[in-house]
Amino acid sequence: MIFQFRQLIAFVKKEFYHIFRDGRTLLILFGIPVMDVILFGFALTNEVKNAEIAVIDYSRDQYSIEITNKIMSSKYFSSIQYFNKYDDIGTSFKNGSAQIAVIFPEGFANKLDHENKADIQIIADASNINTAIMLTNYTTSIINDYQTEINSSVPMLIQPKVRMIYNPELRSVFVFIPGVMALVLMIVSAMLTSITLAREKELGTMELLMITPLRPITIIIGKVLPYLVLSVINSGIIIGMGMYVFNMPMNGNIFVLLAESTLYAITSLSLGILISTKAETQQTAMFVSLIGLMLPTILLTGFIFPVESLPEILQYVSAAIPATWFIEIIKSIMIKGLGIEYFWKPTLVLIGMTIFFIMLSLKNYKSRM
Amino acid sequence: MTRDLSKAVTVDKLTKKFGNFIATDEITFEVDKGEIFGFLGANGAGKTTAIKMLCGLLTPTYGKATVAGFDIYKQTEKIKQNIGYMSQKFSLYEDLTLFENIRFYGGIYGLSGKEIKLKAKNILSKLKISELANKKVRSLPLGWKQKLAFSLSMIHEPDIIFLDEPTGGVDPITRRQFWELIYEAADNGTTIFVTTHYMDEAEYCNRVSIMVDGKIVALDKPSELKKQYSVDSMDGVFQILARGTSVKG
């Protein structure tokens, strides 16, 4: 029998006993991801209060004044400045006296009353990316609220036109949450599997496993399977946190994203197995998976620095890191709302990497000491 | 508190509970200065707990005890300066040389560079391994490591030395050589507190105590114990007293 089903079940059961009886494993598994996402998240994303807003009101009608009042009375904004010309906004952004500006075009109320729709322009200083995002979100939601209030009889549509200046592509925030997701999944999965195999070596139980009829592939699958289940739950938690704590959009199919996350978790787990075929102690395994994987994942995958701005040689290194491809997949799904036809390539790369890691692990796995 | 130096160790109703489990149960005994005191018992009888309390590493639940005249509740730092400890697991730093190990342990106990050099010379020449001073400990046979570890545990000339299964796994000649080092230390006035699973070694002690389930069930000279239980070896005494306890988990 090639597939040792009964043995595999026994092995997986044993692994779950280890996991649920060790507080440390559970903490690493679920505590660290939640903590990391929150820490990384709030380091960059803060609730903004007492911001200053600039208003240019070319219309000066009932609607524009009411909207301005609504904005003023919200807790997010502390002061308001009225300007007459567009250039003044740039000046106030530069000297820091305003972070966001709202511009009502001429004939705003007129247009809204007769055409049932009108534009509002919102300009934000995107050099401080997180503040900009938060403030535009607040402002648009105030406008939306107002819209529902006045929409008693005829549906009227106010269309806020948001413009970010100084950083129109909004680097970082949308890159940042996918980056944290990729990083945390990688570290947790790779670290835990590599530690668990190294622990068997340290405790001497590996010596006994070796002389049992267990095949290397059964041992490897037996190690990966429990952690895969947990990693998938973990991806769910991380995606959920990205969406509900940090307001990441979910423009694509969440099930596709979960499937891709599972694939990426398998890649990370097999990388962990690979590390542990070489590491003799838990300490080495931890060190390699933590330091060896964390720094490249943070620095070279577009997490902090855009990949395009890296020196050419590092771009090749970047392409060898699974997280680079997974970040691309997350962005395609969550932000751009694209389908599989747009990210089959990174998906294939991850599958290829996984097969490579597992083959190499099997080759490295010694049936003797 | 005045320091009573007539007894090396005094223990009075010393007790340690872990939850509902009583590891040591009102044990009482005294160890004379310069005595070789064998502390025997089956695995799990409570020996290790008792030794940890005496070395100041574990606070008793209740009971009194002094080590080298110092109280085990209040003067643990003083105790640590006046005792030596060596176990089978006590390992020298394998990647340091013999001399570097000696310098390290000498340094821990605040010996000056000059004193350390002198100690190193004495220890190594006594063990007849002076020429190995700059060799890594790793290259030393186990027996020599044990003997060196024993000498190092006495580098600060402690009043009492605790030996926890010091001869596990060494060959029969080295085991006896090790005991000669113990005798010599005792002759110089050092009190020896030793645990062992080799029952013939129990015969080498001046007095032995046997612990069963946290209690001391016998305490006397080996010759008296053998007479009392009408057997011809300490192994016989131990089998009578400790049998029946080992089937407990």
Partner: protein, 307 residues
């Protein structure tokens, strides 16, 4: 066919020679003891025979199967209890046993008869974590796990090290009962008193065999007349005997000193006379039969003189 055959095996780790051109055979159904101190190469022999490591040189066979080429077959036939406690400490007694039986594709129920004798003592603690067991209980659990798949050859590497004298005795009583089932047992120990319980033993030092034979024949390989000498001050007596020019060897054995002389001309009275001269009291001198330990010490002494 022998249960175990080792022919001119050598194994080195870096510049340390663990096994040095070693050969021996173990018959089917016997308890064969490897007796020697830590670092003498016992564990290396076990690892090699259990196919965990490969020998550098030489050939070895278990139940006629080559350890180099037939390792998968060997692994199904053997039970192994490594020197270190190698079970899962965070799993309970029962979970450990269940795991190992599943791995060998068998069940506790199938082989309960074989382990009943040992496991019945553990059963009251079957829900206790293995890490929380006492030393003696751990050994029993490890032995149960090694036996669960009915191995033909059982390898026990220092099963009683660090275990108290009572548990050690019980452990050997179990091995004795196991022998009756026809299983071959290779066991190592640093305790000389356990050597006497084996059918045959090999005394090992520095990866070499000093002697192989039955315990009785090993004991009688000690050819000098041996005396047990005793006085009130054992330590002083050793020092005095050692400085005597007639002494061949003098070693403490419990409260006695085993003394052999370098001449056959002297008798008990001469020894008594010498000791009395040294101001000892409560003196007793008696001629005794040498034990395995006496023989081993003598062999170690000879070996050191060769070095």
């Amino acid at each position: 066919m022998k249960a175990i055959e080792i022919k001119n095996i050598s194994k080195s780790y870096g510049d340390i020679t663990a096994i040095d051109d070693l050969s021996f055979e173990v018959n089917k159904g016997e308890i064969f003891g490897l007796i020697g101190p830590d670092g003498s190469g016992k564990t290396s022999i076990f690892r090699m025979l259990t196919t965990v490591t490969l020998p550098d040189k030489g050939e070895a066979f278990v139940q006629g199967l080559n350890v180099r080429t037939d390792f998968k077959k060997i692994r199904k036939l053997i039970g192994y209890m490594p020197g270190r406690f190698s079970l899962y400490q965070d799993l309970t007694v029962e979970e450990n046993l269940e795991f190992y039986s599943s791995v060998f594709n068998t069940s506790i129920a199938d082989n309960y008869e074989l382990i009943k004798d040992i496991y019945s003592q553990l059963e009251p603690f079957k829900d206790r974590r293995a890490g929380k067991l006492s030393g003696g209980m751990k050994q029993k659990l490890a032995l149960s796990c090694a036996l669960i798949h009915r191995p033909e050859v059982l390898f026990l590497d220092e099963p009683t090290t660090g275990v108290d004298a009572v548990s050690r005795k019980e452990f050997w009583e179990m091995l004795d009962r196991l022998r009756k089932t026809g299983i071959t047992i290779l066991v190592s120990t640093p305790y000389m008193d356990e050597a006497a319980k084996c059918d045959r033993i090999a005394l090992i030092k520095d990866g070499k065999i000093l002697n192989i034979d039955t315990p009785d024949k090993i004991s009688s390989s000690f050819q000098r007349t041996l005396y047990a000498v005793r006085s009130a001050d054992t330590h002083q007596l050793i020092l005095d005997l050692r400085s005597w020019d007639k002494t061949h060897s003098s070693f403490a054995f419990g409260d006695n000193i085993h003394l052999s002389l370098n001449t056959d001309d002297l008798k008990e009275n001469d020894i008594l006379e010498y000791i009395e001269k040294k101001q000892h009291s409560d003196i007793n001198v008696a001629k005794i039969e040498p034990s395995i330990e006496d023989a081993f010490i003598e062999l170690l002494k000879q070996d050191e003189n060769h070095d």
